[in-house]
């Protein structure tokens, strides 16, 4: 299935999908290991490094920009992020990592009904040039 959305931060990425509820990267994500560490989050313990992170929205502290950028620098960040609500905090982190290190982590927004469908699949290819983005989802 191929879904069309909007690019917040350009790039391309592919990987296994991790569909989770909103996560605050600050306090909730360990940039050293690439895992969820928020004890109250249902995905606590899950590794997001190299995955396509599918979550409806960002959450919590504005320091999440730094945590995401640090994870991108270390290679422990999600390969790409697919949201259904634009999140300026996560977008800023990905933009700065691109500007400083030339490492991309595309961040895109899909309409809610498309976003829900994506979570049913196992793998995704995100192609996000400036403007509109496409996500190709498959079961393997």
């Amino acid at each position: 299935v191929k879904l069309v959305g909007r690019t917040l931060v350009p790039g391309t990425a592919r990987g296994a999908i991790a569909a989770i509820p909103p996560l605050s990267f600050w306090g909730g994500y360990d940039a050293a290991s690439g895992t969820v560490i928020d004890r109250s989050h249902p995905a606590c313990g899950l590794t997001l490094a190299g995955r396509i992170l599918v979550m409806p929205a960002g959450r919590g502290s504005s320091s999440s920009s730094s945590v995401l950028a640090e994870a991108i620098r270390l290679g422990t960040a999600p390969a790409g992020i697919v949201l259904s609500e634009p999140d300026a905090i996560l977008a800023a982190g990905a933009m700065v990592a691109d500007a400083l290190y030339g490492r991309t982590c595309p961040v895109i927004v899909l309409a809610h009904h498309h976003h829900t469908r994506l979570g049913e699949h196992g793998y995704a290819l995100v192609d996000a040039p400036n403007g509109s983005a496409t996500v190709q989802a498959s079961d393997r």
Binding site: V9, S62, S64, S65, V67, V96, A99
Partner: protein, 417 residues
């Protein structure tokens, strides 16, 4: 598509220096992501990027410094990782201390004012009603918008400093008058004012409103008419922690809400929520991870940073106060208030009572507390919300008087309402 003015184009092309061009390119992409149509000028900034989160924190500021960056508007700084006045309080590694200190110094070198406080509204650099500003730190953002009526979107790391250097921000979010209107009305029951004092009711309200308001600007009806700025500070801080609230209206209290119709801009609210005493009680109960009688290891006050008015309530409580050797006492504040404490002789009173006064940082974001194996009691909803995850601490929430009584008793002891 973002329409650019001559000022914007000059910034982008390097006419105001390479650092400003780098900052403006970042802001342009950011503005496009937000769907903004144009940029506006700001008069002030408050930067949260001086708290160390890893190598990227230093790389970003060093990059701007190497390009010759300077902030172009008065720019205050949020807390850092180190108390530079009392560096011996830091319990992390020497490397973390060195990085934290260097990051704070680099921000000063870019021309930022070394306030190192999460409560810049308690400093000389407080903005005025209607000013367009770029503030980071969620509690400062909600305070500026709600209590002062200054206008800021919710800025985060990197973008805050980029805005301070360029002096521009995308015209979006709460910069735009229409987006500041209330959309969801929360009504408190009148019995709530019998059950709780103004400070505790503010925290309970902030908890529930943060959880339920989502992205909508909430309107709160039914707080005490005597609600103070410090109560509103606590309400906003906790609402911005349990949710993403960046502005609230309190009818008859905050400047853009003289009455309900004005707060709503004459429109119908999208939803009305009647809160019950039970809702508020449940939210407060959820904040504590331990119950009455739990042994205490510390009390933590001053999140956000304690104001002079809050110290004026604390000082009389120290009369005849006998601390318990097992319970450490911490209070966070700014260097500006710390200097006043010294002048007033209050610092001596605090130290005599056993308090560690922490400045430039905060006990929930850095390694300062000696021991968090015992439970920690706090009168801060924000501290109680974050500390279990950040520090691995067990927490009890209570009033300022409860905190001191519990510190003396060595265990959680709340006065019955």
């Amino acid at each position: 598509m973002l329409a650019l003015t001559d000022i914007d184009r000059a910034l982008l092309s390097g006419g105001r220096g390479e650092a400003a061009a780098f900052a403006m390119r970042l802001l342009l992409r950011y503005g496009e992501a937000l769907g903004a149509e144009r940029f506006i000028a700001i008069t002030r900034a408050h930067v949260d990027g001086c708290l160390y989160h890893g190598r990227v924190s230093l790389d970003f500021v060093e990059h701007l410094a190497a390009l010759g960056g300077r902030v172009s508007v008065p720019t205050t700084l949020n807390v850092g990782s180190i108390d530079l006045i009392h560096p011996e309080l830091f319990r992390g590694s020497p490397e973390a201390a060195a990085n934290g200190r260097r990051l704070m110094q680099l921000h000063e070198a870019l021309g930022c004012i070394p306030t190192f406080t999460c409560a810049p509204y308690q400093t000389l650099f407080r903005p005025s009603f209607g000013e367009q500003i770029a503030w980071a730190e969620s509690n400062a953002v909600v305070f500026a918008n709600s209590v002062i009526g200054a206008r800021t979107a919710r800025y985060g790391d990197f973008i805050d400093l980029a805005a301070a250097i360029a002096g521009r921000v995308p015209y979006a979010g709460l910069h735009v008058p229409e987006n500041r209107l209330g959309r969801v009305v929360f009504t408190l029951p009148s019995e709530a004012r019998v059950h709780w004092s103004a400070d505790t009711l503010a925290v309970a309200t902030g908890l529930v409103v943060g959880e339920q308001a989502g992205a909508a600007v909430p309107v709160i009806d039914g707080l005490f008419a005597s609600t103070t700025e410090d109560d509103l500070k606590a309400l906003g801080a906790v609402a911005a922690s349990t949710g993403a609230v960046a502005m609230f209206h309190a009818i008859g209290i905050t400047p853009e809400a003289p009455d309900l119709a004005t707060a709503l801009g004459g429109r119908e609210p999208e939803a009305c929520v009647e809160l019950s005493v039970a809702d508020l009680e449940a939210a407060l109960a959820h904040l504590s991870t331990v119950g009455e009688g739990a042994p205490l290891g510390a009390i933590a006050l001053g999140t956000p940073h304690f104001s002079l008015a809050e110290f004026s309530q604390l000082i009389p409580l120290l009369d005849g106060f006998e601390g318990n050797p097992a319970v450490d006492l911490y209070v966070n504040t700014s260097r500006e208030v710390h200097a006043r404490l010294a002048e007033l002789g209050w610092l001596t009173a605090l130290e005599r009572a056993g308090f560690t006064v922490v400045v430039d940082t905060c006990t929930y974001v850095t390694a300062v507390m000696r021991d968090v194996r015992g439970a920690v009691m706090t009168n801060s909803g924000k501290w109680a919300h974050y500390a279990p995850n950040n520090l691995g601490a067990e927490v009890a929430f209570g009033t300022l008087a409860d905190c001191l009584a519990s510190a003396a008793a060595g265990q959680v002891t709340r006065r019955r309402a």
